[in-house]
Symmetry: C2
Subunit: 122 residues, 2 copies
Amino acid sequence: MIDEMGPLCCGKPHQAQRLTEVSLLIFMTQGISHGYAMLEKLKQLNLGLEDLNTSTLYRTLRKMEANGHIRSEWESGGPGPKRRVYQITEQGTAYLKQWIDVLTVRRARIDSIIEAYNRLLS
Amino acid sequence: MIDEMGPLCCGKPHQAQRLTEVSLLIFMTQGISHGYAMLEKLKQLNLGLEDLNTSTLYRTLRKMEANGHIRSEWESGGPGPKRRVYQITEQGTAYLKQWIDVLTVRRARIDSIIEAYNRLLS
DNA sequence: ATAGACTATGTGCAACAAGCATATAGTTGT
DNA sequence: ACAACTATATGCTTGTTGCACATAGTCTAT
């Protein structure tokens, strides 16, 4: 029962914490990149995206662009298949800042739950 | 933009972190109680369940029982409408312990994201 | 040349938690 | 009788995520 708990009834882990989105925003502040490269590099960082699947990655990227948080262009030339290269927007930078505040609240909430557990049991 | 960010596109906040379930398990280690009472008391604790709605509460309770983590009985007698009183099971106690481990991992993950943000920006 | 591996992006489907609205019904106070 | 309160529950919808699959260009070894 490693990493994440299964759902209430059956099947596979379900997270829906949107950490992929935040991690990608942080990643993109480091410069322009494309999906496949992110997939590879994110496996090395310890942001919990070691086993991020391609569906989630590409779908999240497309939605982020639809919301104006990132911008993309098809890379002209270069080796291999065409790449859609992404870049964070000003709007995206502001959005990321808000997300960090949300995560701070979320962490505090987890803290108080763990604390309550240790107070009452353990 | 207080508490939680809205979804990527539109509509209302979406969390799906299952903190309700864990909080309820912790709550139930303190003794037998029924749904409505939990709703009232959880508003006072600072576990982030201040505005937990009834649908989520009762549905979660029923699912938790279906999974054997809690057990219920209809309370005989007493004032007001009948109450379904809940009690945590042994299985539920073990499950809660596992959940705390999950939350510890989750917190560490949030930590490393916030840390990465501060390292690269801020 | 061609088969297979690798690079690269994407869609269809299903699972599932959570919110809003609504349903139901007993009890208490005026 | 009527409203307010206590108490539990379901229907519908939204939105994230995972798994499987689709598509297509490029590179390498035989």
